[in-house]
Amino acid sequence: MKIDKARVLKIYEQLFLLRSYEEKIYFLFLEGVMPGTIHQSQGQEASAVGMLFDLRKEDYITSTHRPAGHCLAKGVSLESMMCEMFAKANGCCKGKGGAMHTGDISVGALPAIAITAGGMPVAVGVGLSCKMRKTDNVVVCFFGDGASNEGAFHESMNAAAIWNLPIIFACENNLYGASTHINMVTKIKDLAERGAAYGIPSEIVDGNDVFAVNEAATRAIERARKGLGPTFLELKTYRRCGHSRNDSCGYRDKTEEKEWYDKDPVKRCKTFIIENGLGTVEDIVEIEKKVTQAIENAVAFAKSSPDPKPEDALENLYF
């Protein structure tokens, strides 16, 4: 990987944006000013940023019930995300989607699909479309370890393999499906084996190392663009937060939590930058200040944005 200072700092900025966005949302949610529920992605930022940093706008992603990081990293605007969280008329889904369905097709982020593995067959169709339209665009299909026990997962992997589709299956293995540990529901240790079982080149990646994720993504994207077919990346990671609101993670082992918190992807990137002289503490502080301000601005913008009219609920049923 070429280490270029500006690039590395930009990667850090993205990581910090994803982390701060989720922290801010959590705070606003606790404050009670935000309706609905939340499924957050603190701790999994390296996967979103590493996978998507080099994608083009014309490339696509499919996401899950935990979509904020993916959407922001794909380029959905911070303001439109925040407005959607506040259920405003100018949210990215005009207030009709909510936290689990954020997206913006104009930047290639399909509205997130919140049924476990439900986005995977859709990704197959997007991959088919990219191929049939003779583009070299690719699809990054995000899903979690929980999805790997759904039928849709298996049907999708098989189809992508036989049709050589330009899809990167990004399996964020954070060890838990809601409160259930993966060992209780899956016999094998590495989900990458399941990719291999379908004849798809599969890799195990340190999902908390943004550069490792980015390198693996680069290889996979190149294969896909060249028409060489799908890749399966198992990104080993951990969520720092609960599955959804009001989840204090009573089901998790504290030693396990500590072990993973020590591998925090945002902190690791920051340390890497400073230790390798790719940026100074001042550079970092400046980035963090800028991002924090942008988030504050987005919150203020969202709060002052108009609510939808109740009867807007009857619009947009058909295109």
């Binding site: 696509y60 889904c93 509205p111 067959p121 339209r133 849709a152 947009n316 058909y318 295109f319």
Partner: protein, 338 residues
């Protein structure tokens, strides 16, 4: 021309017209195969190649999901399921993704896809027999069409392919045509004139199959033909039956039904689906809300009994509305009132 041929011609014309249109499904055009369970896509790969007539693994979730994904990103898929019953396997993709994407995205995403599904009881037992229209009419965001003639099959399917929204096409196994080695034993032969020149049939416009003055029967697919036969029998007894084929269930041509009721004052709905909470129940309720005062008799539904479809032909014939049952129920309705 048979309905199978008319559907094939619609697909062919639209694929020639628009390169974004493609077909996907199980066994849809394998060399030496059937061309879909009922021959609709037979031979199309000769003209369009196997990339646009895409044979899939037996993966219904994937087929429906892939249609959604392709439709959202610039293609127009026509997905095929061998038997309508298999739609249950893909229910999440149809109900949660196809139907909701446009809405959930605040109208920024479109899903122009077609899902074709054969329905109807044909001595195959309970899992290859269901008429599933009612389930899908309940889901906001889908359009539901039920062509019963070759003319309608072509015109409605072409409209479906050009629609910007997901459309489910229910086709009846006994109406595809009675010729060829995939034809059903008891198939009807609704061969009809299909003009050479291009035409489209808009959704939400029913058609009066037979005019009458004493009672209005609303029926779709095979039940149109059974109702027509019943009407001929009843005519000899001096009962004049009007038969309306709504052709599309979502949207539904209530105007045509209400206009007919102003004349006949009696409504019967004949459907092949099981009775409880079927689309007929919805039509009955809507008419009761909007047009009760035009009626001189209770609304009558004639539908399959609420059991899974039995295999024995003698039992199947009993469960599905027969011509005799329709005739009988009309007689009762008219007598009760008099």
């Amino acid at each position: 021309m048979s309905i199978a041929e008319a559907l094939r011609m619609a697909i062919q014309e639209e694929m020639r017209r628009d390169e974004r249109v493609f077909c996907l499904g199980e066994d849809i055009d394998i060399e030496g195969g059937f061309g879909g369970a009922f021959t609709v896509t037979l031979g199309l790969s000769k003209e369009f190649g196997h990339e646009r007539i895409l044979d899939t693994p037996i993966s219904e979730i994937m087929i429906a999901g892939a249609a959604v994904g392709a439709a959202m990103t610039g293609m127009i898929p026509i997905a095929d399921v061998q038997y309508g019953d298999f739609l249950f396997c893909m229910m999440d993709q149809l109900a949660d993704n196809a139907a909701k994407m446009t809405y959930m995205s605040g109208g920024t995403v479109k899903v122009p896809m077609v899902m074709r599904a054969p329905v109807g009881a044909t001595n195959r037992g309970a899992q290859h027999a269901q008429s599933l229209e009612g389930y899908f009419t309940h889901i906001p965001g889908l359009k539901i069409i039920c062509p019963s003639t070759a003319y309608d099959a072509k015109g409605l399917l072409k409209t479906a392919i050009r629609d910007q929204n997901p459309v489910i096409v229910f086709e009846h196994k006994l109406l595809y045509g009675s010729k060829g080695n995939r034809a059903e034993k008891s198939a009807l032969s609704p061969v009809g004139e299909v003009p050479e020149e291009e035409y489209l049939i808009p959704f939400g416009q029913g058609v009066i199959r037979r005019e009458g003055t004493d009672i209005t029967i609303v029926a779709t697919l095979l039940m149109v033909y059974k109702s027509m036969e019943a009407a001929s029998i009843l005519e000899k007894e001096g009962i004049s039956v009007e038969v309306i084929d709504p052709r599309t269930l979502v949207p539904f041509d209530y105007d045509m039904v209400i206009a007919s009721l102003k004349k006949t004052s009696r409504l019967m709905i004949v459907e092949e689906d099981t009775k409880r909470n079927g689309w007929g129940a919805e039509v009955a309720a809507q008419i009761a809300e909007d047009a009760l005062y035009y009626l001189d008799a209770p609304i009558k539904r004639v539908a399959s009994y609420d059991v899974p479809m039995p295999f024995a032909p003698i039992m199947e014939n009993f469960v599905v509305p027969s011509v005799d049952r329709i005739v009988d129920e009309v007689r009762k309705l008219i007598k009760t009132e008099k």
